[in-house]
């Protein structure tokens, strides 16, 4: 059977190197001309526990997990049991495992799949310094049809810091594994894409968000580490100095948000990245950014909440706090990327909007985007750059918070003579002096709301695709599975619309009315137990009468087939 794509899971106990194996496999696949991605699933252990690399490769760009996996390589049988819910299998799926593998004697759990034994542990002993994960790499490469010769350059690249002996041992293991797998059934692999005209990238969502930030003009970042956002900050720590920017490791999230407000007050487009617990700590100061009209960008790589929740796993449950978590009336921007690729665009756009509108932008990524490495087409260069309105002359008396038509008032930068003002979280008058007068409060509230409500966000507020009187509405990382589900419907000649919101605040009632025109049935898809997105839509927009909700908490991802099931018994005739 020729497949357009293959889904492969590698599982192992902690320290067995499955993540390294997965990364290498993805790179080998990339070199062979495939697209694909690798998601990570792991427990909270720093070292130890169980880990799974969840890979899908394809001859076309791809951004959703499939309904089930074709192949599992379990370095030890016990490790697979931990991931049964995350690795659905069919009767024609294949599990390659090692009955003797691992330290524990726990067997494979019951599974519909066909199980084949590969004595990886035993084979490892034939190579001095060998490791079972490299046997596994060779075996998987053989089974999915990747040429053996393509593996060595990747090993060389990834293992160069480990020394010549380690490289030699790994390569020997790969060859042993490759040879041993010749007795196993081989998959018909996706056609290899040899169109070399298209530049392809290997990038994680967290790196993509960092790149978008720098492209947008961010030059100051304050950082406090938190799973699963840390990689954004680590990437920026290396990249920023190259372009003359600075990253400071702060003492806590309260410091990081206030430091970036300080840096931005000084004229530098500024950003921090965090996850839910950090966003909660930052909420007060995000209100300061709104009230003082000092732009900042806060990237929240969401994980399961509440409280510490499941720090290593994905959920779309910070929508409430992002849109409505600030005290007082504090209009600000909330954006969300709809794919790994889109992390570049949406973060860059967020920087542009925050700077243009002198307000706070919260960008909601999540663990499943941030920590997934994807093989994608090079993201398009876009023109959205930080461009703050700065006063050019001070011949007349300067009013920092002048209530103009657009609501955006030119912002003086320290060093500009004649532009001195005090930025303030106290309500203020047009000059910036504290004021408790009702008319000043009303005028400034109006100004801060008008500037973001009246702005022309163009077509980027949402991804609108397809037509028909049935629509699926979603946001963020669930867009991938929805998009694939709809493309399968499209393959069957049925038209269903996709509405994937990129801009969650401010609300866009006119644009939404146009997007929903003619829609009779609307399916809402979100990864939140308390229906945060559904409630948000109900509060913000006029929706069609017939609505279905498909929601569940993290960490299990949505799969295209599940979305198709939700739609299947609805009439889809137009």
């Amino acid at each position: 059977m020729t497949r357009q794509n293959l889904s492969i899971a590698l599982t192992g106990s902690g320290g067995s190197g499955v993540m390294t194996t997965g990364s290498m496999l993805l790179e080998v696949a990339a070199q062979a001309g495939w697209y694909g991605f690798m998601g990570r699933s792991a427990g909270p252990q720093i070292r130890g526990g169980e880990a799974a690399a969840l890979i899908r490769v394809s001859s076309e760009p791809i951004e959703s997990p499939d309904d089930s996996f074709d192949l599992v390589l379990a370095i030890d049988p016990g490790s697979f049991g931990r991931f049964v819910a995350e690795i659905p299998l069919r009767s024609d799926s294949l599990i390659i495992s090692d009955a003797e593998g691992g330290r524990r004697s726990s067997p494979l759990p019951d599974t519909p799949a066909q199980v084949l034994d590969l004595p990886m542990k035993k084979l490892t002993k034939t190579v001095k310094g060998g490791r079972p994960n490299m046997i596994a790499l060779g075996a998987v490469a053989k089974v999915i049809g990747l040429p053996e010769s393509t593996i060595y350059p990747i090993l060389e690249k990834i293992l160069k810091s480990k020394g010549a002996d380690a490289l030699e041992a790994s390569w020997a293991c790969v060859q042993v594994g490759y040879a041993a797998a010749s007795d196993l059934p081989n998959f018909e692999s996706p056609p290899i894409n040899t169109d070399s005209a298209t530049e392809r990238w290997s990038i994680t969502g967290n790196e993509a968000a960092g790149l978008g930030a720098v492209r947008g003009g961010v030059r100051f970042v304050a950082a406090y580490p938190i799973t699963p956002a840390t990689e954004v900050l680590e990437w920026l720590a290396d990249a920023l100095p190259k372009v003359g920017g600075v990253l400071v490791q702060a003492e806590d999230e309260l410091a990081s948000i206030n430091q970036i407000i300080g840096g931005s007050f000084g004229g530098k487009p500024s950003l921090t990245a965090t996850s839910g617990p950090g966003l909660a700590l930052m909420a007060e100061a995000i209100g300061l950014s709104v009230c003082s009209e000092v732009p900042v960008v806060v990237l929240d790589v969401m994980r399961c909440g509440p409280s510490t929740g499941i720090a290593t796993k994905s959920e779309q449950s910070d929508l409430n706090i992002a849109t409505a978590g600030l005290h007082g009336d504090a209009p600000h921007l909330v954006l969300s990327p709809t794919s790994v690729t889109d992390c570049v665009f949406t973060t860059q756009w967020g920087v542009h909007l925050a700077e243009a509108l002198q307000t706070a932008a919260i960008v909601l990524s999540d663990q499943s985007l941030g920590q997934t490495r994807a093989i994608i087409n090079k993201p398009a260069d876009i023109a959205f750059m930080a461009k703050r309105q700065v006063p050019q002359n001070f011949e007349e008396e300067y009013y920092r918070y002048a209530v103009g038509n657009s609501g955006v008032s030119p912002m003086a930068i320290p060093g500009q003579a004649g532009g001195q003002y005090t930025a303030d979280g106290l309500e203020h008058n047009e000059a910036g002096a504290p004021s408790s007068l009702p008319e000043d409060h009303l005028a400034q509230l109006d100004k801060r709301e008008r500037k973001i409500n009246d702005f022309d966000y163009g077509k980027h507020w949402a991804d609108l695709e397809g037509e028909g009187d049935t629509a699926v509405i979603t946001w963020g990382s669930t867009t991938g599975p929805v998009r694939e589900a709809l493309s399968r419907f499209h393959g069957q000649g049925e038209a269903i619309r996709l509405i994937a919101l990129r801009l969650l605040a401010p609300e866009r009632p006119q644009e939404m009315a146009a997007a929903l025109k003619g829609v009779k049935r609307l399916l809402v898809v979100e990864q939140s137990h308390s229906k945060q997105f559904y409630r948000y839509l109900r509060a913000a927009y006029d929706l069609p009468a017939e609505i279905r909700l498909f929601n569940r908490p993290g960490p299990l991802p949505f799969r295209p087939g599940e979305i198709i099931e939700q739609l299947a018994d609805w009439s889809v005739e137009s």
Binding site: P241, N258, G263, F265, G425
Partner: protein, 279 residues
Amino acid sequence: MTETTACALLQPKEYKSKVKPVWCPGCGDFGVLGSITKALSGLQIQPENAAIISGIGCSSRMPTYLRTYGFHGVHGRALALATGLKVARPELTVIATGGDGDGFSIGGNHFLHTCRRNPNMTYIVMDNQVYGMTKGQASPTTDPNWEKGKLTPGGTGINPFQPLVIALASGANFIARTSSSDSNGTARIIMEAIRHPGFSLVQVLSPCVTFRPEQRDWKNLVKPAQMEATTDPAQAARRLLTDEGLYTGILFRGDRPAYQPRPEPSIDNIAELDEEFRI
């Protein structure tokens, strides 16, 4: 005397804004406002090149009353705001101002870590051992037996925070204490603090005449420190641990290098960042 220098010099009053302070008559903070304007004038810092950064509280209203750039942020975070500004714009003169509650209670963590990080800026704490804006609660520096605190009717019963000792232990590079009643002396010390590289802490004993009227006596009780400022942290520690909090002057001058990242751009075109992602 040449004509040019005579008219170019900025007088202290030219650093004051038109906004009228909210402080009570007799508040020590008026004196500190005067001292800051004298210090800025003494150093002839152009108003547009200085930024006064604060949190919340009576003394945190300071930026509004000055004609420099200013930021009146949220409670306890003045040093974080100021650090961000200084790191992003090292050429500016950055001064954080605030009170004992803002700086040592809600802002305590930033106080420790800003001393430790040692950015080249000055922190002026107007210490009156009380929360004034919320009308009379005990602060971290309040005496344990003060019984008029409305949240601690029998006294706090806990030892006061010792800001200068903590600052020294955390790595502050310049530590001084002054009294708001000595406007010129405070101005001189603020000038020294601004000139000294790294993080400079100036504790100003600044009476709250409304909730701690007994502090009016401070002007009679403060006394100049007997010794020159030490550069030896061990000696400074002994001195700070044994003084009863009323000696004024520069107590410690360190020589740690200030924290200031100065990145050297290494790529001409941002597109060069794309390289690492190319297959």
